[in-house]
């Protein structure tokens, strides 16, 4: 271990050997947070397994098969064992594998995982941030439930795992494994693993670099995928009540290692590698997400002349760029506005002219019509005068004639009528 520094030997007890203990004390005080994502078809045994793993009854009502799309449902619980506080979040897929067309089934899951990374990234990029008290919702492990068909994984399983293997630690599990006999089981496991390998699906490997756990982890890696059975009911075996399923032909005990891999899963997931899962999520999956995201936003580590660029400089450059862009847009909009106003003005002026011309035209018409009417009126008045004269003459003639003829009887006839 010679990296350029001298190694000194101590002549007495200094005391920094307690550092791990100090770390442990701090982390116990802080509490732990663990987020599990369960992906599996409706009825594949997700809720029952989680209940069995954490020995509690998390309320999770069974869902129908007729949902039109896949959703995710997250529930957070606080568990305590000894003096350790665990904030456990279980995220379940709802409606996975039920639709006739499953092409869009895995996208909601990918989006959810990305959303948790994004939330953390946003917090990290804040000016005033509180990572210490931030509730980390990033998924630490994905338990992928494979249906116990006995043949291989389903086509949807392959597509989903491929879309997730660089974002989350995947542990494949065979759910409801009590329908597979011992001879069929090993063949099934081998087929599953070979299909995953040949399609380049990266599943989580229990770490073998730490010598205290490398042996057990290596053995467990060889047992993947874990064939599990869960149960919410208990049966009396001997003089103990154990989680089990009672069939007419026998009793399947959840915690019997000859019956299923439940104990192995619990050991690996919770007792031995929980912290590693959290670490991998943060150091590998999150970092990958962050890098891709920042590159998307235009950040680089190396500038155009191959010189390293600091994030601060990149920020400034981006901000300046953005500001210039904003100004340009503002100017553009202002120009457009002025232009439009001018155009409108011209149009209005023209319209005004037209209206004026029309108005004058109408006035002229009005005058003409008025003159015509006056003329006609004059003519009519003349006619009336003439008519009155004629009438007067006629009446005169009539009165002269009526002296000699009886006009009265006519009048009386008229009255009677």
């Amino acid at each position: 271990q010679n990296d350029g520094y001298r190694t000194l030997s101590l002549s007495g007890h200094v005391g920094f050997g307690s550092l791990p203990d100090q770390l442990v004390k701090k982390s116990i005080k802080q509490g732990f947070c663990f987020n599990i994502l369960c992906i599996g078809e409706t009825g594949s045994g997700k809720s029952t397994l989680i209940n069995s793993l954490f020995n509690t009854n998390f309320d999770d009502p069974a869902s129908t098969h007729f949902l039109p799309n896949v959703r995710l449902r997250a529930q957070t619980y606080e568990l305590r064992e000894s003096n350790v506080l665990l904030k456990l979040t279980i995220v379940n897929t709802v409606g996975f594998g039920d639709q006739i067309n499953k092409e869009d089934s895995y996208q909601p899951i990918v989006d959810y995982i990305d959303a948790q990374f994004e939330a953390y990234l946003q917090e990290e990029l804040k000016i005033k941030r509180s990572l210490f008290t931030y509730h980390d919702t990033r998924i630490h492990v994905c338990l992928y439930f494979i249906s116990p068909t006995g043949h291989s994984v389903k086509s949807l399983d392959l597509l989903t795992m491929k879309s997730l293997d660089s974002k989350v630690n995947i542990i494949p599990i065979i759910g409801k494994a009590d329908s597979i006999s011992k001879t069929e089981l090993q063949k099934f496991k081998n087929k599953i693993m070979s299909e995953l390998v040949s399609n380049g699906v990266q599943i989580y490997q229990f770490p073998t670099d730490d010598e205290t756990v490398s042996k057990i982890n290596t053995i467990m890696n060889g047992h993947l995928p874990f064939a599990v059975v869960g149960s919410t009911e208990e049966v009396k075996i001997g003089n103990k009540m154990v989680r089990a399923r009672q069939y007419p032909w026998g009793i399947v005990q959840v915690e019997n290692e000859n019956h299923c891999d439940f104990v192995k899963l619990r050991e690996m997931l919770i007792c031995t590698n929980m912290e590693d899962l959290r670490e991998q999520t943060h150091a590998r999956h999150y970092e990958l997400y962050r890098r891709c995201r920042l590159e998307e936003m235009g950040f680089r580590d190396i500038g155009p002349e191959n010189k390293p660029v600091s994030l601060q400089e990149a920020y400034e450059a981006k901000r300046h760029e953005f500001y210039l862009e904003l100004q340009r847009k503002e100017e553009e909009m202002r120009q457009q506005f002025v232009q439009r106003v001018k155009e409108k003005e011209t149009i209005l002026k023209e319209a005004e002219q037209q209206v004026q011309t029309k108005f004058e035209h109408h006035m002229l018409m009005h005058q003409e019509v008025k003159l015509k009417l006056e003329k006609k009126k004059k003519v009519l008045e003349d006619e009336i005068a003439m008519f009155i004269e004629k009438k007067a003459n006629a009446e005169l003639l009539q009165s002269q004639a009526s002296v000699s003829t009886p006009v009265v009887s006519l009048k009386r006839d008229k009255d009677r009528k």
């Binding site: 006739i100 006995g150 069939y247």
Partner: protein, 291 residues
């Protein structure tokens, strides 16, 4: 004494001479134990050199129709048995209308028979019509799934559908009861017409009537199949060996396999043929003529 009481015997004799034929279709997702069940039903191995596709190949797999025809004989009675397999059903990622090749196949057989029946030379008509379709429902869910409903609705007026709960050895008795109830409810709710066992005559004996009642109440049958023989209680039986016990396929306390076999082969095989001829085929024929 006239003598026509011997007619049934004459019918029996002639039918033995002529032999029987039966076409059985099996449908359902991969991995539900269809082939194993068929082998268990007919106590033979129909699928000797079968090649299964892997998951990547199945992503966009289309449904095929594969026929296996065998001649089997028992007590002098010959049966030409055709099993119609539907590999690929429900296996792709997008299974929209994946039942179309199946409905087309059934219609084609009807079409063929219709033509043969209407022809001038009707001596050797072959009846390839599908007499029964065993539909396998997954035991891992909570009831019917959308693909199950769509499939059965597309086929219920063309073929006798007998729904089965597959791989029933993953369900404890209370779960089987609940699942059967749920499936029966959903079949009613979605208006699916599955094969109905005919009413038994009022002059049958009480034992027969009791059996008939039990049969009707057990539907849909929860079945288990096995290709292997294991030793249980000193006897060699078809079964599945688990660390926690042995499942015996023919043990009525373990599953409904015996009920299915009795119904399908021993008591109702001919009724299935009759309903196919008298109902499904006649519907098809009437539709054809009217168009």
């Amino acid at each position: 004494y006239v003598g026509f009481a011997t007619l049934p015997n004459q019918v029996h004799r002639k039918s033995v001479k002529k032999g029987f034929d039966f076409t059985l279709m099996v449908a359902g997702e991969s991995g539900l134990g269809k082939s194993t069940l068929v082998n268990s039903l007919f106590l033979t191995d129909l699928y000797k050199d079968r090649k299964l596709l892997n998951a990547e190949e199945r992503i966009s797999q289309t449904v095929e129709i594969v026929k296996h025809t065998v001649d089997i004989e028992e007590k002098g009675v010959k049966l030409k048995l055709t099993i119609v397999d539907t590999p690929g059903f429900g296996d792709a990622v997008n299974n929209t209308e994946c039942w179309k090749p199946i409905t087309d196949y059934i219609d084609q057989q009807f079409e063929q028979y219709f033509r043969d029946e209407s022809g001038l030379n009707r001596k050797n008509i072959q009846d390839n019509r599908v007499h029964c379709c065993l539909y396998f429902i997954s035991p891992f869910g909570h009831g019917l799934r959308p693909v199950d409903v769509e499939f059965m609705k597309a086929l219920h007026e063309k073929v006798n559908i007998v729904p089965l709960i597959a791989k029933a050895d993953c369900l404890i008795p209370s779960e089987i009861r609940k699942l059967k109830e749920r499936i029966r409810e959903e079949i009613d709710k979605f208006g699916i017409k599955v094969y109905q066992f005919p009413e038994c005559d009022s002059d049958e004996d009480e034992e027969f009537k009791q059996q008939d009642r039990e049969l009707k109440e057990s539907a849909p049958f929860a079945v288990i199949g096995s290709n292997t023989v294991v030793e249980a209680k000193g006897q060699r039986v078809r079964g599945r060996l688990y660390p926690w016990g042995i499942v015996e396929v023919e043990n009525q306390a373990h599953c409904d396999f015996v009920k299915l076999r009795n119904m399908l082969i021993r008591t109702h095989m001919h009724d299935l043929k009759d309903v196919t001829c008298d109902v499904h085929y006649e519907n098809y024929r009437a539709q054809c003529i009217q168009q």
